[in-house]
């Protein structure tokens, strides 16, 4: 039974590191070292967890030995473990990138504790098997995200924080009310117990509550039309934090939707999935069109987060094994690619002096390999074979066609095309055209080695996923199989 303790690691390790870094706030060097070591420890422990999950063992743990359905349970199936591992990897990437001087966050005593609290919230949300506990982890994510947003303390940061606060808090409150109504209707909060209740619910008595719950998670995921908090806030963050937010926060919302509709309440009436599919289509299209308007690289990429969320939701809306596989594959691929794009944009910013495409250029002439490095995640995001994004979209589009949802498939393809437009815009403006300032030269002293190390690793990961596709595909298929099994 002792190996079950690993299941608490994705939440406990970052919580411990947050505490340690908080205590070390007087010694910035030690604090940064402990923080980085903590990120490595988190990654190692989630990989152990992933190894157990891959072997088909679902580690479970009930705190205080109050057995489920009475106690709060943590469980790590393949889906949860893989999400926790990729989240830990992104936390490490962001903290390593922070060592460079490409738009890094200014050092202050609260930075590292807040980052680790955010990671704890994400890890806890992926591990928990209890609805109310999930809400608590969302709140932890919210409050540490607020701290990181307000961290710059300039008027634009404070403005972004306020908008994020109001819209996200209303989302979590809505989540609280819908969890209350699910509890009121079933008397359970534990996922397995709820699954059993859901299977017996033939009259659809629970459906309104499930829909409310999903809507609350969709606010967190940034789906159409409740994504306004995302483009209002994200672009004010420094690059490593922006990459971390982009990688994790919305995906936890998608994960929660997947967990509720794909696993716990998989007997929800088909109309709910159908509506979710149309929401996904609207999310894809509005996200990509929002991106087309902007010239600031951070804003363009922030809107692309929304459009990619659409693809993930599309897979859930398809409500089939293949759809869920596509959705999970999309989440894993997108976390890597999206983080990388934000980080490469930060390198471009460091070299050209601006995030605004109207004010940068000339990079291809002086740094041709940076251009290649940008094209790998950019083309993967678009979905060009053999990169990882192609397979994710291939699964989703094929499944849409198989189910006869031709409009959904067409929307997914159109969104890919418009994504290409945005990526080519960044490529042409930042890399290909001449720099608008004729006196522009590369900055003298840069510390970009950690930034290159992180971005190249992530780019290689994208290529590897695309070429050696089979293991990951099999893993996601097994994960979906495990998810769709009846409760014990």
């Amino acid at each position: 039974m002792s190996e079950n303790i690993w299941v608490a690691a994705p939440a406990l390790v970052p919580l411990g590191i947050a505490l340690l870094t908080g205590l070390l706030s007087g010694q910035p060097r030690w604090q940064a070292a402990v923080s980085l070591a903590g990120a490595f420890a988190l990654l190692a422990s989630t990989l152990v967890l992933l190894a157990y999950a891959e072997a088909g063992i679902i580690l479970r743990m009930s705190f205080g030995d109050w057995e489920a359905p009475f106690g709060i349970e943590f469980a790590a199936d393949r889906l949860g473990a893989s999400m926790a591992a990729i989240a830990a990897l992104m936390g490490l990437a962001a903290l390593l990138f922070q060592l460079s001087d490409a738009d890094a966050a200014s050092v202050s005593p609260t930075l590292h504790p807040l980052v680790h609290l955010l990671l704890a919230g994400v890890g806890g949300a992926f591990m928990t098997a209890d609805l109310f506990n999930l809400y608590v982890w969302f709140e932890l994510m919210l409050i540490s995200a607020l701290g990181l947003l307000a961290y710059g303390a300039r008027p634009r940061h404070l403005d972004a924080t306020l908008k994020y606060f109001v819209l996200s808090t209303l989302g979590t409150l809505f989540m609280l009310v819908s969890i209350a109504s699910v509890y009121g209707a079933t008397g359970h909060l534990n996922f397995s117990a709820l699954e059993q209740v859901g299977l017996q619910d033939e009259a659809g008595r629970l459906t309104p509550f499930i829909v409310a719950l999903v809507l609350a998670f969709l606010i967190k995921a940034g789906a159409f039309p409740v994504f306004a908090w995302l483009p209002a806030a994200y672009h004010t963050l420094p690059a490593p934090l922006l990459a971390l937010f982009a990688a994790l926060l919305t995906k936890v919302g998608v994960y929660a939707v997947l967990r509720v509709l794909g696993d716990v309440f998989s007997t929800t009436p088909a109309i709910v999935y159908e509506v979710l599919g149309w929401v996904a289509v609207a999310t894809m299209i509005t996200g990509v069109l929002g991106a087309a308007y902007h010239w600031d690289m951070r804003r363009i990429l922030a809107f692309h987060i929304i459009s990619q969320i659409g693809y993930m939701l599309l897979g859930i809306g398809l409500a089939s094994q293949q759809g869920y596989v596509g959705s999970i594959f999309m989440i894993i691929h997108n976390i890597v690619v999206k983080t990388n794009l934000f980080l490469i944009a930060a390198i471009a910013y460091r070299l050209t002096g601006s995030y605004d495409l109207r004010r940068c250029g000339g990079l291809y002439k002086v740094r041709p390999w940076l251009g290649v490095l940008f094209l790998v995640p950019a083309l993967s995001l678009v979905g060009i074979p053999p990169l990882s994004g192609f397979w994710a979209k291939f699964i989703l589009v094929t499944e849409s066609v198989v189910q006869g949802q031709f409009v959904w498939a067409a929307a997914a393809l159109l969104t890919g095309f418009l994504t290409l437009y945005s990526m080519m815009k960044i490529w042409l403006e930042a890399f290909w055209k001449k720099h608008p300032d004729s006196h522009w030269t590369l900055p003298d002293k840069t510390r970009l080695a950690p930034a290159y190390a992180v971005t190249i690793t992530l780019a290689v990961l994208t290529v590897v996923i695309g070429i050696a596709l089979e293991p990951l595909l099999q893993f996601t298929q097994h994960a979906v199989g495990q998810m769709m099994e009846a409760p014990p």
Binding site: F132, Y135, V136, E139, L142, I143, L146, A150, A153, R154, P155, R156, H157, L158, D159, A160, T161, L162, K163, F165, V166, T169, L170, L173, F174, L176, V177, I179, A180, S181, Y183, G184, P231, A232, A233, H235, T236, Y293, H294, W295, D296, R299, G353, S354, Y355, D356, R358, R359, P436, D437
Partner: protein, 143 residues
């Protein structure tokens, strides 16, 4: 009893939404915390209300009395109240910081993070790190 609580929750949400939709910063965050209080109350109602039997297992028994109060939602609501209090404090400090930094209490005029588009409909240049130069593209095209 439950109808009284239901009406109270409805009234609180209505008042909260009214405040959130207002233009005054302080009113907005007070509205959010009011809605939070309504959410907490609704969680409380999701248990059982109206019973006067305390949730204590009598001596010699192993189960609660059938009509006893439900302690679980009460414990959960306590958690939610604590979280809500932290968020309320944060938001009050945030409002204070915003009105001190910008001298502005009107949420409509608070466009620091999302400036309105320029006269030509394009997004404005907002990089603070670069000295303000005229946009070369705009000059070329004679806008």
């Amino acid at each position: 009893m439950i109808w009284v609580l239901a009406i109270a929750i409805g009234a609180m949400v209505a008042a909260g939404v009214y405040l959130v939709l207002g233009r005054d910063l302080l009113r907005v965050v007070i509205g959010v915390s009011l809605i939070g209080a309504a959410a907490n109350l609704s969680f409380f109602v999701a248990g059982r209300v109206g019973t006067m039997i305390p949730p204590v297992v009598p001596l010699g028994e192993t189960l609660l009395a059938p009509d006893a109060a439900n302690p679980l939602p009460q414990a959960l609501v306590l958690t939610a109240i604590v979280i809500g209090m932290a968020l309320t404090f944060f938001s009050l400090v945030l409002v204070l910081a915003i009105s001190q930094e910008t001298g502005n209490n009107d949420i409509e005029k608070l466009r620091e993070a999302e400036p309105p588009p320029a006269a030509n409909g394009q997004p404005v240049l907002e990089d603070a790190t670069i000295s303000e130069q005229p946009d070369p593209r705009a000059l070329e095209e004679g806008r």
